[in-house]
């Protein structure tokens, strides 16, 4: 069945939409108009492709991870988004949006960040295009991601600490939206995931879809199937796995495969366990609601107040999720599971020791799925994991967790 979400109003059935104050409506409507223009504009797409290639280093490799495959008895491939410039998939989206900001004539870029990867990606493209950049970041995240804070400073961005609420990504996003409402005339809000009001979830998905498109091509090449006239159908892997914070690397990986016969698995952060109060498993435990401009599943109290999430991984420490994921869950197209802090840390060590790759703690959640006993992966199946980022930023957190001093 052809997949064509969202509708023109930005709804993925009951999810999505534009739940923002009136002050922001002209800005998002303008963005919506502009984006629908550039979507099919070859000059824009060529400029973006060129930046992705020459600035970020795409295509990123699809790597067959031999040792962990041997250990588990099926074939594991890693889509190496960690090898992008700035070390995560976030740059794919930042480059796309900075080109839009330029076209809109905005001079000031704002962003929210959790792990700091999106903040670094935004600071990077703002430096590259010579635009002022302000990044909102919760004080708890500033503590656990010091390296990225300093990087943003080096890149010329101002990092504004946010000390309201849980002092993490949710609150940084509130503060970024308040800034945007106040400076909407000259400011572009460069959102870091498939969240926020329409058109952001759709637009960020499209920018991240380069992950899945490349993966499809590369998988075909890896299996060495030559079909010059496409007379054989492309080979399709059996399973795709990605971590889900807001959900941008996951949707970027899944989107080009949505119409194929393939198992898609999103892995959320279970923190100390989904039966405790300390987790960020929005899909598993959330209920329908509206946060940060769109309708989706949310972690909330019986009175509709947003709950404070917990994850060892700052990039997954968010009580909401992109509306398209909520739709894909309710439509039964994607399975959503979760991995605990403990499992993520173990997977971090596992990949480091067995493949020589330090994964981001976010990506470690996706890897943890491979080790879960009830994952229903069959011997000999072909599984692709989106390795969304590299783990350098997390070594302090991992050391703390393991009780080691660096």
């Amino acid at each position: 069945m052809p997949y064509n979400q969202p509708d023109s109003r930005g709804h993925f059935e009951e999810f999505g939409g534009k739940y923002v104050p009136e002050t922001l409506i002209p800005a998002i409507n303008e963005l919506d108009r502009l984006y629908s223009e550039v979507k099919d504009d070859s000059a824009f797409q060529d400029e973006l492709s060129s930046l992705l290639k020459h600035y970020s280093g795409r295509p990123t490799p699809l790597y067959f991870a031999r040792r962990i495959s041997e250990e588990l008895g099926y074939n594991i491939y890693l889509k190496r988004e960690d090898l992008n410039h700035t070390g995560a998939h976030k740059i794919n989206n930042a480059l796309g949006q900075i080109l839009l900001a330029k076209r809109m004539g905005k001079t000031r870029i704002i962003a929210e960040t959790g792990a700091g990867m999106h903040g670094v990606a935004t600071a990077t493209v703002a430096a590259q295009f010579g635009l002022e950049c302000i990044v909102y970041m919760g004080v708890e995240d500033i503590q656990r991601q010091k390296l990225n804070v300093f990087k943003m400073n080096l890149l010329g961005a101002e990092v504004r600490p946010v000390s309201s609420g849980s002092k993490t990504l949710k609150d940084a996003t509130n503060e970024a939206i308040r800034d945007w409402v106040t400076h909407v005339e000259n400011t572009y809000y460069l959102i870091g995931s498939v969240v926020g009001p329409h058109p952001y979830p759709m637009m960020v998905r499209d920018f991240q879809s380069v992950i899945g498109r490349e993966t499809k091509e590369q998988y075909k090449e890896l299996l060495n199937i030559k079909s010059p006239n496409n007379e054989f159908p492309s080979p399709i892997p059996d399973i795709l796995v990605a971590c889900v914070g807001g959900g941008s690397n996951a949707i970027g990986m899944f989107y080009p495969f949505l119409e194929d016969e393939i198992r898609l698995v999103g892995v959320e952060a279970a923190g100390l366990g989904v039966k405790t109060n300390d987790h960020a498993a929005t899909m598993t435990k959330g209920e329908f609601g509206v946060l940060h401009g769109s309708a989706s599943y949310l972690l909330q109290t019986k009175d509709g107040q947003i709950k404070l999430p917990h994850s060892v991984s700052a990039g997954l420490d968010y009580p909401g999720v992109g509306p398209e994921h909520s739709y894909l869950k309710s439509a039964g197209r994607v399975e959503y599971v979760s991995a605990t802090d403990e499992e993520a840390i173990q997977s971090f060590q596992w990949l480091s020791e067995k493949e020589g790759i330090l994964p981001a703690l976010e990506s470690s959640h996706a890897l943890a799925f491979l080790k879960q006993r009830d994952n229903n992966i069959q011997d000999g199946e072909n599984v692709i994991v989106c390795l969304s980022g590299r783990g350098d930023k997390d070594v302090h957190t991992v050391a703390d967790y393991l009780g080691k001093e660096i």
């Binding site: 923002v20 104050p21 002050t23 106040t182 009175d303 509709g304 107040q305």
Partner: protein, 257 residues
């Protein structure tokens, strides 16, 4: 005719205080609204606290947080409105973000509002694009949804929004959040002239209004002045919230305590 329509039938100076429901305490809530009425308030907005109020500045964020900690929820707010209704016919408007309303159940919320005696609803994160259904539901039971317009809302949109709601619209005076600077006088004048021309219903103005002089100026250009953060700020350091409210609103309505 609903109580809001009634008071906006004739053009008189109107002060509309905003109070975060259950701040600083739940116990003082009814008396605070009564004190506001006695001090000359034309209508009162009761804020329903939300954990993530993205159109609000620090003052209202903090008040909301305390109210939530005090155990305020929609059920309690509606009971409070019922209690106020036993003593007063002043129009009452609830102002709050959409998520707690969705969690409560939109249909049930509208009906319970009607039964409690609520006259209007302001939902700052519900622009007309997402509001159609709730506007209809509310109109069916005689509750007004008061949609917002902003200085960057186009002429056509002002027209559409005012026609959609029919009774009253709320003009956000500035591009920004609550608790900030007041508007630039000339720009505000131009903006409100535009609203006057394109709105098919009366309009009140809020954000950045603090003092008696602001109230007088705004009422020359619009049909009422909403005062929010300035009031909440007074309550922050007060042990007698009921008296503080009465005194401050007297200053706003009469210029003296």
């Amino acid at each position: 005719m609903n109580r809001i329509q009634k008071i906006f039938q004739n053009r008189s100076e109107k002060v509309i205080p905003f109070l975060t429901a259950g701040y600083p305490t739940k116990e003082s809530a009814v008396e605070m609204v009564m004190a506001a009425e006695q001090a000359g308030a034309a209508m009162v907005e009761l804020g329903m606290p939300f954990s993530d109020p993205l159109a609000d500045g620090l003052i209202i964020q903090e008040a909301s947080q305390i109210a939530i900690e005090n155990g305020v929820n929609i059920k309690w707010i509606l009971e409070t409105v019922s209690n106020i209704r036993m003593q007063s016919e002043m129009p009452l408007v609830l102002m709050g973000y959409i998520n707690p309303i969705i969690k409560y159940g939109v249909d049930k919320f509208i009906i319970d509002c009607k039964n409690a005696g609520v006259d209007g609803l302001i939902i700052p994160d519900l622009p007309p694009e997402e509001a159609e259904e709730i506007v209809k539901m509310a109109q069916n039971v005689g509750i007004c949804i008061i949609l917002l317009v902003a200085p960057n809302t186009s002429d056509e949109r002002i027209q559409e929004i005012s026609q959609m709601v029919g009774v009253l619209i709320y003009c956000v005076a500035i591009l920004g959040i609550t608790g900030g600077q007041g508007a630039n006088e000339n720009e505000l004048k131009k903006y409100l002239k535009r609203v006057e021309k394109f709105s098919s219903c009366p309009f009140v103005v809020g954000f950045g209004i603090k003092e008696r002089v602001d109230v007088i100026e705004i009422n020359k250009m619009a049909h009422g002045a909403v005062v929010g953060s300035a009031i909440i700020e007074q309550l922050k350091n007060s042990d007698e919230p009921v008296k503080t409210i009465g005194d401050y609103i007297k200053k706003l309505t009469r210029g003296t305590e």
